[in-house]
Protein backbone atom coordinates (compact mmCIF):
# COMPACT_ATOMS: atom_id res chain seq x y z
CA UNK A 1 0.00 0.00 0.00
CA UNK A 2 1.06 3.55 -0.71
CA UNK A 3 1.35 5.48 2.54
CA UNK A 4 1.44 9.26 2.80
CA UNK A 5 1.94 10.83 6.21
CA UNK A 6 1.28 14.44 7.12
CA UNK A 7 2.88 15.68 10.30
CA UNK A 8 -0.18 17.33 11.84
CA UNK A 9 -3.92 16.81 11.47
CA UNK A 10 -4.78 20.17 13.02
CA UNK A 11 -2.66 23.29 13.35
CA UNK A 12 -3.44 26.75 14.73
CA UNK A 13 -1.07 29.62 13.98
CA UNK A 14 -1.08 33.39 14.26
CA UNK A 15 -0.89 35.90 11.44
CA UNK A 16 2.71 36.55 10.44
CA UNK A 17 4.10 33.27 11.76
CA UNK A 18 6.24 31.04 9.57
CA UNK A 19 4.50 27.71 9.13
CA UNK A 20 5.90 24.37 7.98
CA UNK A 21 3.65 21.57 6.80
CA UNK A 22 5.43 18.27 6.39
CA UNK A 23 4.62 15.37 4.12
CA UNK A 24 6.52 12.10 4.33
CA UNK A 25 6.39 8.95 2.24
CA UNK A 26 7.82 5.56 3.10
CA UNK A 27 8.63 4.45 -0.44
CA UNK A 28 10.84 5.70 -3.25
CA UNK A 29 8.30 7.75 -5.17
CA UNK A 30 9.48 10.71 -7.19
CA UNK A 31 6.44 12.91 -7.62
CA UNK A 32 4.86 14.73 -4.69
CA UNK A 33 2.17 17.41 -4.61
CA UNK A 34 0.65 19.99 -2.29
CA UNK A 35 -3.01 21.04 -2.65
CA UNK A 36 -5.30 23.24 -0.67
CA UNK A 37 -8.98 22.48 -0.37
CA UNK A 38 -11.65 25.09 0.28
CA UNK A 39 -15.44 24.72 0.30
CA UNK A 40 -16.92 25.44 -3.09
CA UNK A 41 -13.51 25.65 -4.74
CA UNK A 42 -12.45 22.00 -4.65
CA UNK A 43 -8.76 21.15 -4.64
CA UNK A 44 -6.22 23.51 -6.10
CA UNK A 45 -2.59 22.66 -6.76
CA UNK A 46 -0.03 24.83 -4.95
CA UNK A 47 3.29 23.21 -5.86
CA UNK A 48 4.65 19.89 -6.95
CA UNK A 49 8.03 18.22 -7.07
CA UNK A 50 9.24 15.54 -9.44
CA UNK A 51 12.59 14.89 -7.79
CA UNK A 52 14.87 15.99 -4.99
CA UNK A 53 15.48 19.75 -5.10
CA UNK A 54 13.13 20.07 -8.08
CA UNK A 55 9.87 22.00 -7.81
CA UNK A 56 7.22 23.41 -10.07
CA UNK A 57 4.53 25.98 -9.38
CA UNK A 58 0.96 24.87 -9.51
CA UNK A 59 -2.12 26.99 -9.96
CA UNK A 60 -1.92 29.04 -6.75
CA UNK A 61 1.72 29.29 -5.56
CA UNK A 62 1.49 32.85 -4.22
CA UNK A 63 2.29 33.08 -0.54
CA UNK A 64 3.83 29.60 -0.43
CA UNK A 65 7.17 27.95 -1.00
CA UNK A 66 8.31 24.33 -0.84
CA UNK A 67 11.38 22.32 0.04
CA UNK A 68 12.43 18.85 -1.12
CA UNK A 69 15.86 18.11 0.31
CA UNK A 70 15.26 14.36 0.50
CA UNK A 71 13.11 12.19 -1.68
CA UNK A 72 10.86 11.05 1.15
CA UNK A 73 9.97 14.51 2.50
CA UNK A 74 8.15 17.39 0.82
CA UNK A 75 7.54 20.48 2.91
CA UNK A 76 5.12 23.33 2.30
CA UNK A 77 6.17 26.65 3.81
CA UNK A 78 4.06 29.66 4.58
CA UNK A 79 6.66 32.40 5.05
CA UNK A 80 4.22 34.77 6.78
CA UNK A 81 0.87 33.17 7.43
CA UNK A 82 -2.27 35.15 6.69
CA UNK A 83 -5.90 34.51 7.55
CA UNK A 84 -6.76 33.75 3.92
CA UNK A 85 -4.44 30.75 4.14
CA UNK A 86 -6.78 29.07 6.60
CA UNK A 87 -7.61 25.88 4.75
CA UNK A 88 -7.26 22.12 4.50
CA UNK A 89 -3.89 21.18 3.02
CA UNK A 90 -3.50 17.85 1.29
CA UNK A 91 -0.28 16.17 0.26
CA UNK A 92 -0.26 13.59 -2.52
CA UNK A 93 2.26 11.44 -4.23
CA UNK A 94 2.40 9.62 -7.50
CA UNK A 95 3.54 6.07 -7.19
CA UNK A 96 6.32 5.06 -9.55
CA UNK A 97 4.69 1.62 -9.63
CA UNK A 98 1.28 2.99 -10.56
CA UNK A 99 2.11 5.92 -12.72
CA UNK A 100 -0.32 8.74 -13.34
CA UNK A 101 -2.29 7.93 -10.19
CA UNK A 102 -2.06 10.16 -7.14
CA UNK A 103 -2.47 8.95 -3.56
CA UNK A 104 -3.37 11.37 -0.80
CA UNK A 105 -2.45 11.87 2.81
CA UNK A 106 -5.03 12.52 5.55
CA UNK A 107 -4.70 16.30 5.34
CA UNK A 108 -3.75 19.12 7.71
CA UNK A 109 -6.41 21.58 8.72
CA UNK A 110 -4.63 24.89 9.28
CA UNK A 111 -6.28 27.80 11.03
CA UNK A 112 -4.55 31.18 10.96
CA UNK A 113 -5.82 33.62 13.58
Amino acid sequence: DVKVTQSSRYLVKRTGEKVFLECVQDMDHENMFWYRQDPGLGLRLIYFSYDVKMKEKGDIPEGYSVSREKKERFSLILESASTNQTSMYLCALMSSRDTDTQYFGPGTRLTVL
Binding site: G40, R44, L45, L90, A92, M94, F104
Partner: protein, 115 residues
Amino acid sequence: AQSVTQPDIHITVSEGASLELRCNYSYGATPYLFWYVQSPGQGLQLLLKYFSGDTLVQGIKGFEAEFKRSQSSFNLRKPSVHWSDAAEYFCAVAPRNSGYSTLTFGKGTMLLVSP
Protein backbone atom coordinates in the same frame (compact mmCIF):
# COMPACT_ATOMS: atom_id res chain seq x y z
CA ALA B 1 -7.44 24.95 -20.41
CA GLN B 2 -8.86 21.74 -19.08
CA SER B 3 -11.83 21.86 -16.74
CA VAL B 4 -13.99 19.43 -14.84
CA THR B 5 -17.65 20.05 -14.04
CA GLN B 6 -19.63 18.28 -11.39
CA PRO B 7 -23.06 19.83 -11.84
CA ASP B 8 -24.54 18.64 -8.55
CA ILE B 9 -23.22 20.24 -5.38
CA HIS B 10 -25.40 18.06 -3.15
CA ILE B 11 -27.32 14.86 -3.78
CA THR B 12 -29.55 13.02 -1.32
CA VAL B 13 -30.26 9.35 -1.91
CA SER B 14 -32.22 6.87 0.18
CA GLU B 15 -30.29 3.95 1.56
CA GLY B 16 -30.58 1.02 -0.84
CA ALA B 17 -31.39 3.22 -3.83
CA SER B 18 -29.17 3.55 -6.85
CA LEU B 19 -26.76 6.43 -7.31
CA GLU B 20 -25.31 8.31 -10.25
CA LEU B 21 -22.90 11.22 -9.84
CA ARG B 22 -22.21 13.25 -12.93
CA CYS B 23 -18.86 14.43 -14.24
CA ASN B 24 -18.13 16.26 -17.49
CA TYR B 25 -14.73 17.40 -18.66
CA SER B 26 -13.42 19.82 -21.21
CA TYR B 27 -10.13 18.76 -22.71
CA GLY B 28 -8.29 18.72 -26.01
CA ALA B 29 -7.82 14.96 -25.99
CA THR B 30 -9.20 12.18 -23.84
CA PRO B 31 -7.45 12.56 -20.51
CA TYR B 32 -6.93 10.09 -17.73
CA LEU B 33 -10.04 10.09 -15.53
CA PHE B 34 -10.42 9.49 -11.82
CA TRP B 35 -12.98 9.42 -9.06
CA TYR B 36 -11.97 10.04 -5.46
CA VAL B 37 -14.02 9.95 -2.25
CA GLN B 38 -13.43 12.01 0.86
CA SER B 39 -15.03 11.18 4.20
CA PRO B 40 -15.38 14.04 6.70
CA GLY B 41 -12.01 15.20 8.01
CA GLN B 42 -10.12 12.69 5.91
CA GLY B 43 -7.90 12.71 2.85
CA LEU B 44 -8.98 11.55 -0.59
CA GLN B 45 -9.26 7.88 -1.40
CA LEU B 46 -9.06 6.66 -4.98
CA LEU B 47 -12.26 4.85 -6.04
CA LEU B 48 -11.41 4.06 -9.65
CA LYS B 49 -9.65 5.33 -12.72
CA TYR B 50 -9.87 5.10 -16.50
CA PHE B 51 -6.83 5.11 -18.72
CA SER B 52 -7.92 3.12 -21.77
CA GLY B 53 -9.76 -0.01 -22.87
CA ASP B 54 -13.16 -1.04 -21.54
CA THR B 55 -15.21 2.09 -20.98
CA LEU B 56 -16.97 0.61 -17.95
CA VAL B 57 -14.57 0.66 -15.04
CA GLN B 58 -15.01 -1.18 -11.76
CA GLY B 59 -13.69 0.30 -8.55
CA ILE B 60 -13.64 -0.31 -4.85
CA LYS B 61 -16.67 -0.32 -2.53
CA GLY B 62 -19.00 -1.47 -5.30
CA PHE B 63 -18.63 1.65 -7.44
CA GLU B 64 -18.31 1.75 -11.20
CA ALA B 65 -17.95 4.52 -13.77
CA GLU B 66 -18.61 4.72 -17.46
CA PHE B 67 -16.52 6.79 -19.87
CA LYS B 68 -18.52 8.24 -22.77
CA ARG B 69 -16.29 9.99 -25.25
CA SER B 70 -19.17 11.48 -27.24
CA GLN B 71 -20.50 13.20 -24.13
CA SER B 72 -17.12 13.96 -22.50
CA SER B 73 -18.51 12.35 -19.39
CA PHE B 74 -17.31 9.97 -16.71
CA ASN B 75 -20.28 9.34 -14.42
CA LEU B 76 -19.97 7.37 -11.21
CA ARG B 77 -22.61 4.80 -10.30
CA LYS B 78 -23.53 2.42 -7.53
CA PRO B 79 -26.55 0.11 -7.67
CA SER B 80 -27.38 0.21 -3.95
CA VAL B 81 -26.14 2.94 -1.64
CA HIS B 82 -25.15 2.26 1.96
CA TRP B 83 -25.19 4.83 4.77
CA SER B 84 -21.38 4.59 4.91
CA ASP B 85 -21.21 6.00 1.36
CA ALA B 86 -22.14 9.45 2.66
CA ALA B 87 -19.11 11.56 1.74
CA GLU B 88 -17.87 14.04 -0.81
CA TYR B 89 -16.96 12.74 -4.25
CA PHE B 90 -14.48 14.33 -6.61
CA CYS B 91 -13.96 13.73 -10.28
CA ALA B 92 -10.49 14.54 -11.64
CA VAL B 93 -8.62 14.51 -14.94
CA ALA B 94 -4.95 14.40 -15.86
CA PRO B 95 -3.25 14.79 -19.24
CA ARG B 96 -1.98 11.63 -20.86
CA ASN B 97 1.70 10.80 -20.83
CA SER B 98 2.82 14.01 -19.21
CA GLY B 99 5.49 12.30 -17.15
CA TYR B 100 4.46 13.87 -13.89
CA SER B 101 0.88 14.65 -14.60
CA THR B 102 -1.09 17.01 -12.45
CA LEU B 103 -4.72 16.56 -11.62
CA THR B 104 -7.53 19.00 -12.28
CA PHE B 105 -10.43 18.45 -9.91
CA GLY B 106 -14.10 19.17 -10.07
CA LYS B 107 -15.59 21.08 -7.15
CA GLY B 108 -17.09 17.96 -5.66
CA THR B 109 -20.53 16.48 -4.99
CA MET B 110 -21.64 15.92 -1.42
CA LEU B 111 -23.65 12.71 -1.08
CA LEU B 112 -26.17 12.51 1.73
CA VAL B 113 -27.83 9.17 2.47
CA SER B 114 -31.24 9.16 4.08
CA PRO B 115 -32.62 6.22 6.09
